[in-house]
């Protein structure tokens, strides 16, 4: 204490350099994915909650006969859930963050995969919750109700991703919005006005179309991930 009071301590020399020489602990891939959850925009969560609320009101609160109406209402909401999912996936490109993200340790491909995983998990939870809420209220079996609900979602996702993989992101968004509105509208019209399409005899057709769309969707996702490995090169740069 006496020495401390007798002498004034010297100013630190090359303090910053010393501090920078430390190898600070790195975040794991798991930490990175968990961090990404916080960066999913609020509207995605809100739409998911709204969809579950619609299913709850339709499946548990409304009269039994209204349950069918709930099915077509929910399946008509699904294209919009697909739209916000696709928009969320393409956020890096639309906000011109892709180049910066590509140069980071967890690159754009990791970001897209993380977002894809988070959104797919969220959508799956929403879908299962809605399905359980409608269980026993509709004359169809659970898996058949599932196909009717998921079909517009998968159709919108596949077409939107195909558009985004083909056209530059910003212009693509307008087309994607158009696609989701179109799918939602057609779904409402067909299911409500021509309920015969939901008859037993057409179930095989639904299954074949559903599986084909699933394969198409997987292909589009692979294409999208491949695209994120390299910045889309433009001849304008060297013009």
């Amino acid at each position: 204490m006496q020495i401390k009071s007798a002498y004034k301590s010297p100013m630190p020399v090359r303090r910053d350099e010393f501090l920078h020489s430390f190898n600070y602990p790195k975040a794991s891939y798991g930490d990175f994915v968990i961090n990404q959850i916080g960066y999913i925009r609020i509207r995605v969560w809100l739409l998911s909650v709204a969809s579950i609320a619609a299913a709850f009101i339709g499946g548990r609160v409304c009269h039994y006969t209204d349950a069918f109406n709930t099915l077509w209402v929910i399946s008509s909401i699904m294209p919009f859930i697909a739209l916000v999912t696709v928009i969320e996936l393409m956020r890096s490109t639309s906000c011109h963050m892709a180049e910066l993200e590509m140069s980071c340790r967890y690159s754009l491909t990791d970001v897209i995969l993380a977002r894809l995983g988070i959104l797919a998990g969220l959508n799956l939870m929403v879908f299962i919750t809605m399905l359980l809420l409608l269980r026993g209220r509709i004359e169809y079996s659970l898996w058949r109700t599932g196909i009717y609900m998921l079909f517009p979602f998968i159709l919108t996702c596949s077409l939107s991703l195909a558009v985004i993989n083909f056209i530059k992101a910003r212009e693509g968004f307008y087309i994607c919005s158009g696609i989701s509105c179109f799918v939602s509208m057609i779904n409402s019209i067909v299911v409500y006005s021509v309920p015969i399409v939901l008859a037993d005899r057409y179930m095989v057709v639904w299954c074949i179309l559903f599986l084909s769309l699933m394969i198409f969707l997987v292909l589009q996702i692979f294409k999208l991930i491949k695209k994120t490995e390299e910045l889309q090169w433009s001849l304008v740069l060297t013009a």
């Binding site: 925009r41 963050m97 590509m102 140069s103 340790r105 490995e229 910045l231 001849l235 013009a239």
Partner: protein
């Protein structure tokens, strides 16, 4: 510490944008000079792993550019970059920190340090969309430094900065070059002249020259001339040689130009600068040039 490119080439359809560039960079500041379309940005993008080369490779201490460890050692500031519109400066840096593999706590600490370094602490909570061009540029520099990179690549970093900020930025880059490989691409010759120990000159996708300022300027030593002429004589010379500078003094014209031999009687040899070298390689002679 060694960053190498070996026969790095990028071809798009029939156009070769970067043509077999081989070089080795060690600690220090390197200035990359070249006119628009010289292939600087494409070269930089390949060195950052953002574009895949048609052929050739980029390695840092033997680690390939495609490897996560390479990106872990890299700090990059692109010429143009965007941001998520809902982000403020602090959120942007924390987000980039997470992508660079920093823990949440460390990303926050580092963001605070860097916001102070680039004088943006006061606006840390403000949305980036309210920032001026210079502020965005400083934020871009800050994000490139988040992971304390060993390789720092900056594409046109001083664009949009006012003279005071530019001077501050220069001294910052000089300091960083003491323990990092810094590659700086810019059109602003004076920036490179004052901070880059090594200069790389690119033209038509090829690396024309690599060397220190003295070595580069020696390329045109004895070829820079200054002459004081009347209008007719001046017009004859500007249509023949690349003009570096032109100044009117009453009825006379003071010309500074680069040519192989003395352009006229009375022409005086001048010491070559980096700007002279740049203009020698990148300016074109207009045979129909006239004085206003």
């Amino acid at each position: 510490m060694e960053l190498s490119t070996d026969c790095l080439t990028k071809q798009y359809d029939k156009k070769i944008v970067v043509d077999r560039i081989s070089m080795t960079l060690n600690k220090g500041v390197y200035g990359l000079l070249g006119a628009n379309g010289a292939g600087k940005t494409t070269l930089i993008r390949m060195m950052c792993g953002i574009l895949k080369p048609t052929s050739g490779e980029v390695t840092f201490n033997g680690v390939d550019v495609t490897h996560e460890d390479y990106r872990d050692a890299l700090g990059y500031m692109p010429q143009f970059f965007g941001y998520y519109p809902e982000f403020n400066a602090m959120e942007f840096l924390c987000y980039m920190g997470c992508l660079k593999g920093l823990t949440k706590k460390r990303a926050r600490e580092r963001s605070k340090e860097l916001l102070e370094l680039v004088s943006l602490t006061d606006v840390a909570g403000s949305k980036i969309k309210t920032f001026s061009g210079g502020m965005k540029q400083r934020l871009g520099i800050a994000q490139a430094l988040l992971n304390n990179p060993k390789i720092l690549i900056l594409d046109e970093p001083t664009a949009g900065l006012d003279p005071k900020e530019r001077v501050r930025f220069r001294s910052l880059i000089s300091q960083l070059g003491e323990d990092k490989i810094v590659l700086l691409s810019t059109h602003i010759v004076s920036d490179i002249e004052s901070i880059a120990a090594n200069i790389l000159i690119m033209k038509g996708g090829r690396l024309l020259h690599k060397g220190t300022l003295e070595e580069i300027t020696a390329l045109i030593e004895g070829k820079v001339f200054e002459c004081n002429l009347d209008r007719t004589a001046a017009e004859a010379l500007i249509s023949k040689y690349p003009v570096i500078n032109l100044r009117y003094q009453q009825d006379r014209t003071l010309l500074r130009l680069v040519c192989e031999e003395k352009p006229c009687v009375g022409a005086v040899n001048a010491a070559a600068t980096l700007e002279d070298v740049y203009l020698y390689y990148f300016s074109e002679v207009n045979p129909n040039a006239k004085l206003f």
